[in-house]
């Protein structure tokens, strides 16, 4: 389970980006909700520790337990439905001394599971049987999450699953086929949900979408005012921002004008208080993390390594895009945390667990492939002299 690694294979750049982004997160959470700062800081420290420890375990060994991982995941999701805490009409929490949200961990566990599953079925990935079985295996936890209800994680997981399969090597033929089906379906879906009496999604979900589509309609102002306030806050930050922990009365953050600002709208605090420089910095850091993961995916020793890295990259990438897109109002309002920045211990720890495995994938590199190449180059060089 533990192996001998070379220190220079450890991706310190990725660690640096993570530490930088998480630190910014702690500062922003502190400014948004001072009482939660300490908890967030402890979360980051704990997360980093878990990440470093996990990065030393051979991910391939861990993945041997992939069915166990899958079952634990299902068990947690069922536990939520049975014994979960209901907050605002949705049951997403388990109370285990602290508030634990299994759907956040689920995203990571599914990446691990499919990494191994695709490795096992590496050569049959494009067989209809495997495709269908994969979809069924996804559908089970997805259904549980959807029934919480948690639309945003359902969407995120679906997107990430597509990316996993794509990285694993799904045939472009399938992709084309799916697109031919999905795009018209999406069009029909949208056409249905704009009807007031639709039954496809819950009313509050429809209201959010409608509010986004009709930003100036009085009927949906409740839902857009949060986003409008967020945009005003971000815009008013200008180049350098109003400074963290400022005491400006007319501040979206200080005036409590955006609810859940420490989680779903943390980017509004960043925009308002750190300005363009700070918020662009966050976007760039997030992109760098995604980039590092994808680069490690390219160098991974096998399909499972590639899937883990690509999956984590997609997860961070999509979730960030959705979060910032909502905060800057280019997407409809869904409550997704901003990875490594938003307050939320389950999300933070889960992401670090994922990153731990990503780092181990990096440590195991494609040693057997790369070594001969270097030798070859050396030889070429020698020949040159």
């Amino acid at each position: 389970m533990l192996r001998q690694y070379r220190l220079r294979d450890y991706n310190f750049r990725l660690v640096l980006w993570l530490v930088a982004l998480s630190s910014l997160g702690v500062l922003l959470v502190g400014s948004a909700a001072a009482s939660m700062q300490t908890k967030q800081l402890l979360g980051v420290i704990g997360g980093l520790t878990i990440m470093v420890i996990l990065s030393l375990f051979d991910f391939s060994w861990i993945l041997n337990f992939y069915w166990l991982i899958y079952l634990v995941n299902l068990a947690l999701l069922i536990a939520v439905l049975v014994a979960g805490k209901s907050v605002g009409g949705a049951t997403r929490w388990l109370n285990v001394g602290f508030r634990f949200q299994p759907s956040e961990l689920c995203k990571i566990l599914l990446i691990f599971f499919f990494a191994k599953y695709f490795l096992v079925h590496e050569n049959e990935l494009n067989k209809p049987g495997v495709v269908i079985r994969s979809i069924i295996l996804l559908a089970l936890p997805l259904f549980l999450i959807l029934s919480q209800p948690d639309m945003k994680n359902t969407i995120t997981i679906t997107l990430v699953f597509c990316m996993l399969y794509y990285i694993a090597g799904l045939s472009y033929k399938y992709i084309l086929g799916v697109m031919v089906i999905v795009i018209p379906l999406f069009a029909i879906f949208m056409a249905i949900i704009v009807q007031p009496d639709q039954r496809l999604i819950k009313d509050y979900q429809r209201t959010r979408i409608m509010a986004f589509l009709n930003p100036d309609s009085e009927q949906y102002t409740d839902n857009t005012s949060q986003q409008k306030n967020s945009v005003t806050a971000i815009g008013s930050g200008m180049l350098t921002g109003k400074g963290l922990n400022n005491s400006d009365v007319s501040s979206a953050n200080k005036g409590n004008f955006i609810s859940e600002i420490q989680t779903d709208f943390i980017f509004a605090v960043a925009g308002e208080e750190l300005g363009f420089l700070g918020s662009a910095g966050i976007i760039i850091l997030l992109f760098l993390i995604v980039l590092e993961c994808l680069l490690m995916s390219i160098r991974a020793k096998d399909v499972s390594g590639r899937v883990i890295c690509g999956g984590m990259a997609s997860l961070v990438g999509f979730q960030s895009f959705i979060n910032i897109g909502v905060a800057t109002r280019i997407l409809p309002n869904t409550g997704t945390p901003l990875p490594f920045v938003s307050y939320g211990l389950t999300s933070l720890i889960s992401l670090y667990i994922g990153m731990g495995l990503v780092l181990n994938v990096g440590l195991q590199g494609r040693i057997r492939v790369q070594a001969p190449r270097r030798v070859k180059m050396h030889r070429q060089g020698a020949a040159h002299y």
């Binding site: 001072a34 990316m163 794509y166 990285i167 090597g169 009085e218 009927q219 102002t221 409740d222 005012s225 409008k228 306030n229 945009v231 005003t232 806050a233 971000i234 815009g235 008013s236 930050g237 200008m238 180049l239 922990n245 005491s247 009365v249 007319s250 979206a252 200080k254 005036g255 409590n256 004008f257 925009g271 300005g275 363009f276 918020s279 662009a280 976007i283 760039i284 997030l286 992109f287 995604v290 980039l291 994808l294 680069l295 995916s297 390219i298 590639r306 690509g310 990259a313 997609s314 990438g317 895009f321 910032i324 897109g325 800057t328 280019i330």
Partner: protein, 968 residues
Amino acid sequence: MDKKLRERLKKLKINRAAVLIILFAVLAFVLLRRIYVLQIINGEDYRTNFSLQTTKTRTIASTRGKIYDRNGKILASNQLSYSLTLEDAGSYGSTREQYLNLNGEAYRIANILESNGDSLDNDFHIVLDENGNYVFNVSGTSLLRFKADVYGRALIKDLTTQESETTADEMMAHLISERGYGIIRTKNPYTEEELASVGLPPVETLTPKEILDITYVRYQLFTTSYRKYVPVTIATDISDESVAELSEKKNTLTGIDIVEDSIRVYDQAEAFASLIGYTGKISAEELSELSEINSNYDSTYIVGKSGIEKIFETTLQGSDGQETVHVDNFGRVLGVDEDKRISPSAGGDVYLTIDKDLQIATYKMLEQRIAGVLETVIIEDEYFDKSEVDDTEDIRIPITDIYIAIFENSVLDVSHFTEDDATATEQALQAAFTDKQQKVFAAIAEQLTGSDPLPYKELSDELKEYESYIVNDLLMGTSGILNSSKIDKTDETYLAWTRDESISLQQYLTYAASMNWIDISAFASSDTYLDSGEIYAELSAYIEDYLTDDDVFGDILYKYLILTRDISGNQIIRALYDQGVLDKNNEDYKKWRSGAYTSYEMIKRKIHNLELTPAMLALDPCSGSAVVTDPTTGEILACVTYPGYDNNRLANSMDVAYYNKLAADASRPFYNKATQQKTAPGSTFKLVTTTAGLEENTIDRNTVFSCNGIFDLTDTPLNCWYEDGHGDQNIIGGLQNSCNVFFANVAYTLGINEEGNWSDSLSLSKLISYAKMYALDKNSGIEVPEATPSISDRYAIQSAIGQGTHSYTTTQLARYVTTIANSGTIYNISMVDKITDTDGNILEDYTPEIEGTVTISDETWDIIHDGMRHVVMSKQELKDLDQKLSSAGKTGTAQESKSRPSHALYICYAPYEDPEVAIAVRIGNGYSSTNAELTAKDILQYYFSLVDQSLLITGKARTDSVTQRQVD
């Protein structure tokens, strides 16, 4: 798979990650471009036009239903008012900063309200007493509930011992400190700059009142702390000036809001308060009761506390609506979301069968008659010994009793004597009082700690009264120091004190201390051991300490100051003018100042002008009641109890001082004399005896009994009220003369058993069964709470003339006379006519139920009616009435005490031929039934418009025809 294909596949895989890199690079670019547009290109715009919005849900209070009289005249309505609400909407870096800001804001709000003559609501149960000390204004369970609320305990039983035993001072010290609301910090105090920045003066200059105000506001915010953004109401019914000033300063007073509200307004409150009741903030008990009926009730609701307001609470209470408003970052309302508005629905209106004008007139005429009786029994003598009189009709009130009553019933506010703006007269009274107090304390100290204390029986009457007060009221009463359950009632020393009066107070208390009859924890610190001598010393100190602040003891001192002429009548009258109890703007004042009237004449004039009312003095008589019904329907047209009170001052935000004054008032305004006070019916019961005799055939219309002034056929002889005797009379004459001997004979005939022997129980059982026939054993049916009647179950002869153990309310007698007037239909008399919605559509229509019928022969009815008719015709004072309106009636006198005047009763109905109204009147301790009869005469004259109203409602005591003489 061949090598080439695998190579191509691998290439494709690498490309896949690269594709993703490109995808996420594009997404990152999209976001960067978006924030560039927002922050760099449009940033300036967003910064300068910074405007945020949020939504808030506001409750739209429903309107409480109104209460009308039978003719649609308004009795209870709602008036638009403004309330000030506050929510903790600010955001602060630290608790210290938060508390500083909130305290400063509370201080500024209180000042603004104060300067415009308004005040914060006073549902906080710590108040300042006259000496400026913090005291609780509730006790018992209410106090524990309040403590639980303050300490944030859900249940009373969650309070710690220390918390449940905390004093008002300790609680305030806690709340003021950093452990509470941080008003005054001892560690790390606020700097002057900090205080000035929020408008607070240096903390040491804050007055107790200001500290109390800040504490109150903070407490109100605290009560909803678990629900953020919920505004709390801190002042209701504020003036337009306050509204203007607060609105202007809204930007600096974070979180305040002026909301439209309504206050309950009662018209002609005094006459109606006992029927209508009042509203107030829901209590925990009411909430749990009402929310079982309707789940909408929550802790902010205003509900009916008594009377119709309480009985029809769920009908009158509408349901609140809700609206969503958009507000900006300064709390300004940008717009209302019309789609989400839930309109409030108003409560139903209640129509009473009461005739508003008749009720008011009856109240006033009753007061005039009671005052008339009072005025005529006041004598100029300074002393009158009640124990000397043979007959209670000879009891008189010496003028000094009036002066004493002025102090005892708090007509004068003695606490004002020590205020800075006390007048010369008030100061002189206070000086006399202080001097007296010192002398009395010295005398008491002499008895308590001196070397030569006197046995009780050797003391002066004055000292006896003081010592009795100390033992009975102070030690055994309020303080509970002398624990009567521990005392051995057969103990020699105890008997020497109580029975023989042969030992001194000092001896008794020293002995009590040695016997452990004394609970020392109330006056001595419990952690030190004291021997009985030390206990006694501590107790003596405690007694003097206690008496210094005790108002009741103060009243006793004033009494002796008056009796010893250290305080004169003139001084008292001057103080009454100084305090505005009497109005200087009339002729009397000038004449009195010029010496034209003596103080005795002046007092009588003021009583005559109703400036000093019977209720204020609370002497005999000071109360009365009258009930008017329609005998054809059983509806109540008027139900008056005197004295009334102003329920406007109890509704909305309760005037606690007023409530406490009413509760302590010796005239007992909260005690409904019409529905709660029970007395014997006196001779009004003779109609039941008549029925029994006629229906049992022991007498007929022509049976004659002779009255020689005494009935002595049984063991206990009975005197007729007319000592000379009425001679021979038949039943009509017996009723007309209200002859006791005649009805004693009737009862006697009822009690002759088959063997021809007299049986008290036989007679009694027949009387009881006929009383039950008239439903005198049942409540009358009136909707407000009524005392349970009791038919006499002892002494047949006495019972037959309405004495014995009979006991009925005025409403029960009203139902009785209603039944007689309509010849037998027993209604459950009712004061509720109908309930309508706001648009006047009838939701429910009430008609009085019929409880039963009195089935007796027409002949019996004829005799009863004829007898009652003769009563009226025989009365000299009813002659003028009878010329215009024929009526029938029966007087009654109920004697309860040898030292107080009898109660006066009268029941009647009119017109005799075809009754439209039935009336029952009772004047408690009103001497003669004639006085009740005169009140009923007034009511009939008013109802049938026989006399000009200005002659009936004069605003003066009516002394015409008043008598103290017993006539039945």
